[in-house]
Amino acid sequence: MNAYSVVANRLVWFLPTLLGLLAVVFVLARIVPSDPAVLAAGENASAEQVQETRDRLGFDRPLLEQFVEYLREVARGDLGTSVYTQQPIIRDLAERLPATLELTFVGVLAAALIGVPLGVLSALHRNSWLDHMLRLASVLLIGVAPFWIAMQLQMLFSMQLGWLPLSGRIDDVAPEAVTSLITIDALLAGDLQLFLSALRHLVLPALTLALPGGAVVMRFTRTAVLDAVTSPSVAYQTAMGLPRRVIVWKYILRSALTSTVTQLGLVFGISITGAVVIEAVFEWPGLGTYAARSILHSDYNAVMGVTLCAGIVFAISNLLVDLLQMVIDPRGVK
């Protein structure tokens, strides 16, 4: 297998996966016992107006017909209009996805930077008090609800210590959108003040993602390192007297990273979907808050749009993980 066939293989499965995902969400959204037409028509609408809205939006037609119609629109690049924002959904998504991506990228990066070294240390000092403490902490962080972590961080760092902003993405006006990732746009605009402000806003929500994510990464890294430590190649290198630091941080780490990278891909996917809760706590204007509001308003097309968007991001992150695996473990590569 080379890189091209990996990409091709992923692409072949990409469309059927998305189709299946959309079908499930389409049906689920319509099982929910609420009438979108009533909500869409407005609070004071008469029965006739509601019926008229229902006709216009096609909610009384057969489910399959609605689904095929929806797919036809999507294929044309039209995700419909949000009943709530009255904007094309694709524009809503384009505004909000970068905020979520920025948060998730920083969160996953921090998870890796926290999880990998601690996992290695934990494995090397197996059954020491450090190992026990780290494992206990990881179980707690994985077990505790993310919104609770978020609120504890807010109370400590912004309300008590006042070091970091409580919520939001930026204090001032956002810089000119080039990448729509505010930190990078601020750097591109050469505005250091703005960059630091954006960074300070990122810290707490990213940490909320990174703590449980880092705990997962740490546990998998620990297991992988323990495997590698007892491998014959490490026994050989030890017998040959290679310095311990070279054996650990060059050879063992690389072996351990193959499983860590897979975990990072999963953490990324979970973070995108888990963003709903964290974005709500931090009033982060991303995909998560949009998804939550769309569901509450039975904004079907918006829910479908978010699903599609998350599915595509997930697929891309899986592809990147596959490619990264090939870089780390070149055995399968011709």
Binding site: S231, P232, S233, A235, Y236, Q237, T238, A239, M240, G241, L242, P243, V246, K250, Y251, R254, S255, T258, I328, D329, P330, R331
Partner: protein
């Protein structure tokens, strides 16, 4: 002649769930500079553990060295700390049993050679305009040439799994030679190879030892292989030394019943191979007296009670047996 390697009364046990397993019991041996010594015995005779003890590559938590000492080049290898550490991979190097497992599969062969060269070999001579890296690469290529690996430059870019078994073991040999050691410990270096390749590797080992004056301690269960290249053979049984034969005494003048039975078990044209009945002594509960007595046709009462003390003849031939064969008798019928 001062010994390069001197082992005195070495006792080694592994902690197991069923109690301590006595792997080595009172082992005495010496290896002179430039000498090739074969350690022969069945699986479980302790030959690999002996080799690993010298290299400090025992499974640390389970292994317990009860008594004895290992001195290499005057340094205590068991309690020598940093001094012993610095000998490993410099004065004494290692050729492992399974070359494929002993490489890290994720790194190019060239990288692994370069790290041995960089951390264990004496600094390569620098040319007037050369840098250290370039000098190291030259030294590696010369060494690959010496172990008869043609097109060595292309080989450096390959991964271990892309090499043949013979190529891998030649690279291992090169890695063992790069530090310019005084002694190589080769643990069944041909066990994973085809018969034709075995002969080549053994020949190479013998020639290199002679050319460079390197001593070799070579474990094998293959008496034929030992006879091909060794100056002396040490026959081990159940963690004890049964017989030490100088080159002149190979085959014809062996005196220990176990050695004779081992020889008789070799297939040879015109003669039935005779197996040794019974099972190898369990290290968990070794038989009292001579450990071989349950399987020995010549066993008498004293064999069941007292451990035979080694007796040495003037040509260096040593045998630990209450009823050894007379030195001159023919080994044909046992």
């Amino acid at each position: 002649m001062t010994a390069l390697l001197e082992i005195r009364d070495l006792c080694l046990a592994f902690r197991t769930d069923k109690g301590p397993a006595q792997v080595l019991d009172g082992v005495d041996l010496t290896v002179a500079p430039g000498e090739i010594v074969g350690l022969v015995g069945e699986s479980g005779s302790g030959k690999t553990s002996l080799a690993r003890a010298i290299l400090g590559a025992l499974p640390v938590p389970q292994a317990e060295i009860a008594s004895g000492r290992i001195r290499l080049d005057g340094v205590d290898m068991l309690r020598g700390g940093k001094a012993a550490e610095s000998l490993r991979g410099r004065v004494v190097t290692f050729v492992p049993q399974d070359p494929l497992d002993s490489f890290n599969p994720l790194f190019r062969v060239g990288t692994q050679l370069a790290d041995i060269m960089r951390y264990r070999a004496p600094p390569a001579k620098e040319g007037r305009f050369g840098n250290a890296r370039h000098a190291r690469e030259t030294a590696i290529l010369e060494m690959l040439d010496a172990v008869q690996l043609p097109q060595s430059r292309a080989l450096l870019d390959r991964y271990p799994h892309q090499l043949s078994g013979g190529q891998r073991q030649r690279v291992m040999l090169a890695m063992a030679l790069l530090p310019q050691p005084r002694m190589i410990i080769a643990d069944e270096p041909t066990a994973a190879l085809d018969v034709t390749v075995q002969v080549q590797i053994l020949g190479l080992l013998r020639r290199i030892a002679a050319e460079r004056g390197v001593a070799i301690l070579f474990t094998t269960h293959d008496l034929g292989a030992a006879w091909e290249i060794c100056d002396r053979i040490i026959v081990m049984y159940a963690g004890q030394i049964a017989e030490i034969l100088p080159r002149t005494a190979f085959f014809a003048k062996s005196r220990h019943p176990y050695t004779r039975m081992l020889l008789a078990s070799l297939p040879e044209p015109g003669r039935e191979a005779i197996g040794i009945s019974g099972e190898s002594a369990s290290p968990l509960s070794p038989p009292p007296g001579c450990r071989f007595h349950p399987r020995c046709p010549m066993a008498s009462d004293i064999c069941r009670k007292a451990r035979p003390l080694p007796s040495r003849s003037e040509d260096g031939h040593l045998v630990a047996c209450h009823h050894p064969w007379a030195a001159a008798s023919s080994p044909a019928h046992v």
